[in-house]
Symmetry: C2
DNA sequence: CAGTGCTCCGTGAACGCTCACGGGAACGTT
DNA sequence: AACGTTCCCGTGAGCGTTCACGGAGCACTG
């Protein structure tokens, strides 16, 4: 492919010259403005069309009314956790007349910096699920309004939205204990760089277990890739290691469902032989068999409040934090 | 609505003045360029920071290297059909170094025009799931590279990507007939404005049924809203109307699953009392109980080829069409 | 016939930034 | 002592568009 030098762009001036009129007249024709003869408009439009003229959105943006574009960075389009968040963000942004550009890091930590870099010079404000401190710093230092979601290690100077899994885990573990479970395996997301750190579901689980008098330790936690397959593989570990779990609590529904299916495939009955509890409350969790008990999070609200925070920052407010409290929905899997 | 009454923007000139240097020096500091004393850089950066200076992306775009932003319009973020398409588009765009902005019409026909309007002056090229001829015309007339997906009434002058449901329906119906079914209800998406039109799944179903010697007519088709609830409600219609279906073929998996769950809730056995077949091949369809037989579509590929077509158009190619052939995956629901 | 209004069109200026160039100071080299 | 070099830094120009203005042409008034 002969990559010739980029041909000069066709400007409004080119069209004007070619149509025998001035810039302004072309502009009037293209933008459906008054003060132009219908006949000239048609002629100009035809010329513009034939030359393949397309106004530069940059030049327009320079002079026109300033409209805000919000960047939304999610971890993975394929992860069913995000659509509802996106939906909330889109709705809230729409109410304010904002544009939204969605970016996905594909859950790849090493891609976060690249995405952050583009975000910085493509949008005016940002709502992001990001883990890499470098990427976070990049956006933060740019000075744009910024809300960081679901990150336990958010620097205090950046706004955030988090889910109160401390409360959530207490409920979930309490529920299992109530059902008579004493050996609970926790399937953690091994993709997170801060595995086991303070405030993570991992450590909150251990804390909640201790509160309920369970002798839980790191041996109760099994790392899993954040996917159905990851959950299935982790379930093999639980079952193969002789841990003797009567219940499984997973980092999220995806992992829980993967694990539950694997357990069934290995001939176990759910919840009789092993109970399962997930986190997030995906629509999916209601549809699987048996329906999954899960800590439901209002993901749409998470998105909406993030946008609200961004708007507040634009209005000069300081950094803040929104907390979403999950609700335990008990279904047939436990 | 664009934001109103904004205070004048802080420009590079403001920072320059305030730091006692020239524009260019500020530019050098901000962009990490050489030819600047480390000390001045620090000082300028500090001033810029304190003034809340953020470079205008429009001004930058005017002069800098021209990068392409691809607009992707989907019908509904919450519809699990789209994530895989988005994923394909993101991957393919990334390979070419393009940006992607995702828009969602929320499956609301009346919002399509508004979205189309923003798309037209926000991006350089477009891949879209759109139904409204007005919105389609708007984008098409703008002259930007444009690929329209999954629309049976695509104007011949615009490129497209479609799914070969003619072949697909033949397989699906054939499969059911082979299993001994003679009364098959079709659950159509009633949200489509072209319901029953030429090339729709609706009419292709009727055609395929006829080919297999079934006396199918419009009475076999039941409209359903495009959601789980829609499928459930339509199933009530099928069951309540005395149609006597032994099998249900739905417009997509979402509707099929909704219908199947409703049937079970009403005490029917699947597939003994009624078999179910969906379209699209969502991940979800593998996870429900019983797993759903479905016409699987390579959605990721659909996205990738759309981007490929856009790229071709930029290189001067004419309009074209990509066809994806669905594959029947037989599972326990039929 | 001058004056008034309306329709249509063109000319500077401005938007905020980067690129290309040029220039001064400080240092070393012949 | 005159001459390069290197390191910083500043100045004009240009990117492509729209806005605010002004002006020509024409018809219609009083």
């Amino acid at each position: 492919m002969p990559t010739s030098a980029r041909p000069r762009r066709i400007t409004i001036e080119d069209v004007a010259r070619s149509a025998g009129v001035s810039r302004q007249t072309v502009s009037r024709a293209v933008n459906d403005k008054p003060e132009i003869d219908p006949a000239t408009r048609q002629r100009v439009l035809r010329v513009a069309q034939s030359m393949g003229y397309r106004p530069s959105r940059f030049a327009r943006g320079m002079v026109g009314p300033r409209l805000t574009t919000l960047g939304l960075v999610i971890a993975d389009v394929l992860n069913p956790f995000f659509p509802e968040v996106v939906s909330g963000v889109l709705a809230a942004a729409d109410e304010r007349g904002w544009q939204v550009a969605v970016y996905s890091t594909g859950s790849a930590l090493e891609r976060e910096t690249a995405v952050a870099r583009t975000v910085v010079d493509q949008v005016d404000a940002c709502v992001a699920f990001l883990l890499d401190p470098g990427a976070i710093g990049l956006i933060h230092r740019s000075g744009m309004p910024f809300v960081l979601l679901d990150n336990e290690h958010r620097p205090p100077s950046v706004s955030g939205g988090r889910i109160d899994f401390a409360t959530g885990m207490r409920h979930a573990v309490g529920h299992l204990v109530e059902r008579g479970h004493r050996r609970i395996a926790m399937l953690d997301d091994r993709g997170r760089p801060d595995a086991g750190g303070h405030g993570t579901r991992h450590s909150l689980f251990l804390g909640a277990a201790a509160e309920h008098g369970l002798p839980a330790d790191e041996g109760w936690v099994f790392p899993a890739a954040n996917s159905l397959e990851g959950g299935a593989a982790a379930m093999d570990d639980v079952l193969g290691g002789g841990f003797g779990a009567t219940a499984v609590l997973a980092y999220n529904d995806l992992i829980a469902i993967g694990a539950m299916r694997r357990a069934r495939a290995r001939g176990m009955r759910v919840p009789e032989d092993c109970a399962f509890v997930g986190c997030d409350g995906l629509t999916l969790s209601r549809l699987v068999d048996p329906p999954l008990t899960t800590l439901t999070v209002d993901k749409e609200l998470l998105g909406r409040s993030a946008v609200r925070q961004v708007a507040a920052q634009m209005a000069g407010a300081g950094t803040g934090e929104t907390v979403i409290v999950p609700r335990l929905v008990v279904r047939a899997s436990s």
